[in-house]
């Protein structure tokens, strides 16, 4: 059987690709579309490094098939900034040193953005539980949590 032809939208741009059934959305993003900002840490949904938004829902790209992306809208870390203006989460991760080695950072940012969309004023505990699916081995999470809290505060101020 030939590969499947899939049309999907990534960060607002339409992409077409051919894929085998077993290729995951993560494989497609990284190896076919060369959008390598989304990282692979485990490929089993246990580390969150490949977190992306799929039609507005936070998912692990490693647990979505490429063929399932047909007709859907995907957001990745590459789409967070607007032009040369970083997203407040990106800016606060920089200021608070929320990224040490940086491998978990794209997934953390996407997951944190999803949180702030549903809860603009999360408590520390809420952030910790929301981000429990995003493993970080460098920071002990402290500076990540602080960066998310600071970004939330700034985004609330901008809104009000």
């Amino acid at each position: 059987m030939a590969k499947s032809h899939v049309t999907t939208t990534v960060n607002g741009d339409e992409y077409e690709f051919l894929c085998d059934t077993e290729q995951t959305l993560l494989d497609i993003l990284r190896d076919e579309l060369l959008l390598t900002g989304t990282k692979e840490g485990c490929a089993t949904g246990d580390c969150g490094a490949c977190s992306v938004m799929l039609d507005g829902c936070l998912v692990c790209a490693c647990l979505v098939l490429g063929v399932e992306a047909a007709g859907k809208s995907i957001e990745t870390v590459e789409g967070l900034a607007h032009g040369d203006e970083l997203h407040p989460l990106q800016q606060k991760f920089l200021e608070h040193n929320g990224a040490q080695c940086g491998i978990c950072t794209p997934g953390m940012l996407i997951a944190a953005k999803a949180l702030l969309e549903v809860e603009p004023d999360p408590s520390e505990t809420e952030i910790r539980y929301w981000l429990a699916g995003n493993l970080c081995r460098c920071t002990g999470y402290d500076k990540i949590i602080r960066a998310v809290m600071a970004a939330a505060e700034e985004m609330r101020e901008v809104r009000s």
């Binding site: 077993e22 089993t44 200021e95 002990g140 402290d142």
Partner: protein, 760 residues
Amino acid sequence: MTITQDDLRYDPDRKLKVVGTTPIKPDGVDKVTGRAKFGADVHLPGMLVGKVLRSPYAHAIIESIDTSAAEALAGVKAVVTRDDFPELPPGEFRNISCNFMAREKAFYDGHAVAAVAATSERIAKKALKLIVVDYQVLPHVIDVMDAIKPDAPILFEDMVTQGMDPARGGPTNIVQRKEFTMGDADAGFAEADIIVERVFDTKPMHQGYIEPQACVANYTEDGQTELWCCTQGHFIYRTRLAAVLKMDISKIRVTQSELGGGFGGKTMFYIEPVAIALSRKANRPVKITLTRNEVLRATGPVAGTHSRIKMGMTKDGKFTAAEAELYFQTGPFTGSAFVNAPQAMFTRYDLQNIRAVGYEVVSNRPKVNAFRAPCVPQVVFGVEGVIDELAKKIGMDPIDLRLRNAAVEGYETIYGATFGPVGFVETLEAAKAHPHYTAPLGANQGRGVATGFWFNRGGETTASLNITPDGTVTLLLGNPDVAGSRVSICMMVAEELGIGVDKVRPIIGDTSTLGFNRVTAGSRVTFSAGIAVVLSARKAIKILCQRAAMMWDVPEDGVVFEDGHVRPASSNVGDFEPLSIADIAKKATETGGPIAGHAEIVAEGAGPGFGCHIVDVEVDKETGAVKIVRYTVVQDAGKAIHPHQVEGQYQGAAAQGIGWALNEEYIYDQDGRMENAGFLDYRIPVASDLPMIDTVIIEVPNPLHPYGLRGVGEVPLVPTMAAIANAIDDAIGIRPRSLPMSPPKVLKLIEEAAEGRDRA
């Protein structure tokens, strides 16, 4: 006169503008936008996918390997086995070679036995299934103490224990024995009023970096190799690759990617020589990316240990002697760095009588790799537990007991060095004064403290600093940045040159751009590269001064460099407007050419580091679950160049230690196969497991560094497990002496305590 390392000494009176601030790091934007290129992010035209076939047996003779069916599969471009790698004489390189590709025997579940390169991952995986390996399965041994039993399965029939006099004959799994002594331990124990002697066990854990190893190798027909990989030391990779592949060092060019975590685990390669061999056979670039399963089964881990620790003390709390007998599991090959342990475990206390013996033992687990303060945290788990017990026996505050025995400047260590100015006392005093130490505890909560030491390291380091025509600076460094060194190094350059840190642009050069740099490990890089770049900057400053003197037509000693400008040394020299670096750089062509400074040094004078951790735990007495309620790390950094980076090291190491303390361990089935080779069952801490981790940075400057800094990456792991064990003891009244302190084990202790059973 040439400037040398010896000219760079700490100047307490220097006013600092950049050092000690927290600018955004130069690698930051790339990391928050997804641009940063990690190991698996390299794509080359025509690149093949490499996959590795691994032994499903813990211990087996490999009778034969038939690759013909795999080679015949359409899309397969190369298959390699043990036959594709040179035979080497016994020694380090042969061990390395036999670890990345099994020879006569497979020594652990996950040991590589063959590899393929194919046009797609699907074909590569299919090809692996077509390789027929004929194994003769042998009895195996996993645990370090099982491996030294008389009837244990033997990994190497010809092994002779080194360091025994006379050398102990085989068969044995003990690789070597090392003894370190100072003073007279027996006499010291004879002086003691109180002696505590306990046995402790720790389990191997994995470094747990989130980025699996990945590399791309491109071997060309003229025998040159380019390699892109995630590594803590691309220079040492190059040296070792040349040795195991029998190539010229200069024909291998290694470019390091951003490193997605290493913690010691990426100081030694696994897939790189395999990718090169595949590329050589296929005449195309080959990329290998490990799966998480492979990472856990075949890389890492950290040595598991068994230790007996004995300490003596007078009734007024003065330590009189210490003794240790230590067993380290090293996997099938030597390389655990276990000799660190006897040298570091008691060092920080003013002990005069020590006897410490270590044994390194092979077993059927992956070869161990480095991890923050290799082999030290495991045994400090015991030392700090014994000290806690000693404090209880005389009713002394545990920090007071440590203060009573703290080593200070002038202490001669067991490894021969004499302490210069050290910050152990200051660290303990700050811990004692911290509000955490006296905060009230809730129900079922307990508090523990523990301390740690690490030597800190220097070593071969190079740097090249170029002043561009507009006066900004490019900086070429030779050490992968494992999290925060780049910005700190740039800050020291900015401070020297009197320019903003954003005017210093660093890159980490590949192995063809600089001289040899020792691996990023042992808390050596910010210290060593700091010296190298300060030296480079001062050389450049000297040239800037020469050029300014030339421009003004005054003698060279008639100018000085201050605040980013060359000025006349005095009004006698003449009335000249100060020249900025840019002013001078603009005229560089007319005054003698580009301006630069570089350094090639063996950095010396690393100052030891000390830390004290305070932790509160809450124990669910019905389930044995331990929750970390509050955590504080106090540690001497000498000088925090960029405090956020230092705090990040303290916090991250503590979190790793919490994982090691509570849950992380390898679980093997009866056939020696790892059962928890994934992040679901190999349980590193998640965000909701941890509280904020408070930090206190102590600054007792290291006089042998221009900014006084000490390495900070190793120490903050060392006390963690001991501190948590001491806290659990405080909460439940019984001390765990075996890692991990997982719920079933803690629950058992609680039940034993309730039954009043005496385990001592």
